[in-house]
Symmetry: C2
Subunit: 394 residues, 2 copies
């Protein structure tokens, strides 16, 4: 049986249902733990203990210290905290605006947070990528300046599933820092699409900051965290009571955080099986689409080691992607055009554009769930055949 | 029967348990609604509909348009958004830092957010208050300058329960704006402690922006909103996909928002009864403490029309407040010293200091719940007698 009462949900990169185990934690914690974790009485201490346990759990998964985990309201906030926080800390210290480097296919929360720093004189370099979404490393090296405070390159792209070799980028950044004898630039990665399939060990990834959130990993919406290496000094962007080691004020969402840590723990436990199962269905789908439907164009890397196992990004010649998504929805299949996280009326994908594609028809993203099976894959293929034929006839 | 399994919980100004009806909404929504509200398929539209309904419900309670409600991760974020958002919008437009006016007894999230604007050259005026916590209006009038972008004065103080006459402050601000022919300064109020007992009708309060959150109104933690009059132009502080009318990016916490709107609706429905019931117990407690315990000093307004019905702030000569809170906790009574929202090791209350009091012993805050009854009040009095006697003997 499926977790949800629909025919086929193929939009897990936009949002996932709650794992039943996560739902139980959320419900029980929301019901029983109500103290403010900053209070010194029992209700407060109880809430504080849940926070501590959740933080330790996540720190363990990342192989870092609990003090290096800062809970936020989600991935967007964590990305903003990393970027704006680094920019503001530099401004506070030097009285000058800093320079930020991002890749062109980052999530809007990275791109817009960097862009916003321009209000205060910030400078932003947007690095080009190749047609698979890999950052141009020569350009990266050439972009460093004395005031470069941060480089942000995502771990797994949300639209085309490209998996970035963070270690390679990290080496370039660390070599530069060593040569210059400076702590900058920090290296941040948005890892929101990664936990289901890829290791989050901070040290071996070589990152200084990492964003994770709950809503793409069968966890709750409205919760996430930023990992920060203890040597990273950023300014908070949400000021107040000094919670989260002074880096993120506001009473913590105890129930949500507890559920989020459970979701991440489940990802860690089930990862190997997930990679195998989901890849198998994804490969089957790709092969059958190629065989059965004419004019299919696949975007993103074709090497499965460089690609998230749940992601297919495909366009059909002569078929408008948005019409196809709506047509599929009528047939009970939920997919998306590009990123759902952007506004509903977004005309084109900034990711495909950066990859060098400018089809007037654009593409749809199928992102598979942990229980998407072959039967569902066949339903998707039948629906794609039916709808591409219908829409081409129009 | 009580909502929670403790003897007496008297710290509702720090955090409230979930109302059982709110818990049901939270649980059911988290279980059944999992789409990303920005997605265009059914799962997304379903989530979007829950958001719309919640927004309309809250707008109705405030007497405003749904488009004037921006959901946030809580009160701290909403306060930061109002203050930093106004400051950044001004900087973006003029290239110059703005001036902000706050009252001295605001929540740390207001004070610190204003303080942080100094990084970029911002100027902050902290208005003095009288011994009841009322803002000095002459100083307010004298503080306006051409670049004053915002005045932030809280509706109900979280430590001493002072209820501010917002209308009176609004008139001063509006008169100034009219005279100068300018849209500035905006008038923002932190109303996190208000919904259980006071009207939230924006127009009659005369405010341009208002912060509300879930965790003090028997709703969920990690959810809140900022009301913004449609004529108010601020910059977002969390950038990305452009959710919440471009003012607060990030996938919305649909289940939390739905539960929050239910909690606010219940406040609205039960308000009159709550004011009556809670005031009665509060007055009984104050009278009995005065009668039965020597050396009690009460802080904040003694006129009940100027004070939140759930708030008692009292110190005992010769008794350290923190020792008393711990002693009460051992006896099963949960109270606090000042605000729980601040760090655990806070040495003194900035609120009492601003009111002109500098007792070395400080005070405790008892904040009553919706079902605190006379029997519980008597337990509190007995415990206070026992503990003040014990601590004075030490």
């Amino acid at each position: 049986m499926k977790l949800w009462s629909r025919k086929v949900y193929a939009d897990t990169a936009a949002s996932t249902p709650l794992d039943p185990r996560v739902l139980t934690v959320l419900t029980q914690t929301a019901k029983n733990i109500f103290g403010n974790p900053s209070s010194i009485h029992r209700a407060g201490l109880e809430a504080g203990k849940i926070l501590d346990t959740s933080r330790e759990k996540i720190a363990g998964i990342l192989g870092v210290s609990p003090e290096e985990i800062v809970f936020t309201s989600g991935g967007t906030e964590a990305n903003n905290l990393a970027i704006r926080g680094a920019f503001e800390a530099y401004y506070k210290k030097t009285g000058k605006p800093a320079h930020i480097i991002v890749s062109a296919i980052e999530h809007k929360s990275v791109l817009e947070a960097a862009e916003n720093c321009k209000i205060f004189g910030g400078r932003v370099t947007v690095l080009p990528v190749d047609q698979n979404g890999h950052t141009n490393l020569t350009e990266l090296k050439n972009s460093f300046t004395e005031d470069t405070v941060l480089v942000s390159v995502g771990y797994v792209n949300n639209e085309v599933g490209t998996v970035v070799d963070l270690k390679q980028i990290s080496k370039i950044i660390r070599d530069y820092r060593k040569k210059q004898g400076t702590a900058f630039p920090y290296f941040h990665t948005d890892a929101c699409q990664a936990p289901r399939f890829f290791s989050l060990k901070a040290e071996s990834l070589g990152i200084d900051m990492m964003t994770i959130n709950g809503s793409k990993i069968y966890g709750p919406k409205g919760v996430g965290c930023l990992y920060l290496n203890k040597d990273v000094k950023i300014n908070p962007i949400q000021m107040g009571g000094g919670q989260e080691f002074g880096l993120r004020s506001g009473t913590q969402n105890v129930a949500g955080i507890s559920a989020f840590s459970t979701a991440l723990e489940i990802c860690e436990q089930e990862r190997d099986a997930q990679v195998k199962n989901v890849s198998t269905i994804r490969d089957y789908l790709v092969e059958e689409i190629k065989k059965q439907i004419s004019g299919a164009i696949f975007y993103g890397s074709t090497e499965s080691t460089n690609r998230a196992p749940n992601n297919i990004n495909v366009g059909f010649d002569g078929v408008m992607a948005e019409d196809l998504v709506i047509g599929l929805d009528v047939l009970g299949i939920e997919a998306s055009t590009g990123s759902a996280c952007s506004s509903k009326s977004k005309p084109e994908s900034h990711v495909l554009k950066a990859l060098g594609f400018t089809s007037p028809f654009s593409s749809i993203r199928l992102s598979l769930g942990k229980d998407t099976n072959k039967k569902e894959a066949n339903i998707i293929i039948e629906a794609l055949k039916k709808e591409t034929t219908r829409l081409r006839r129009k």
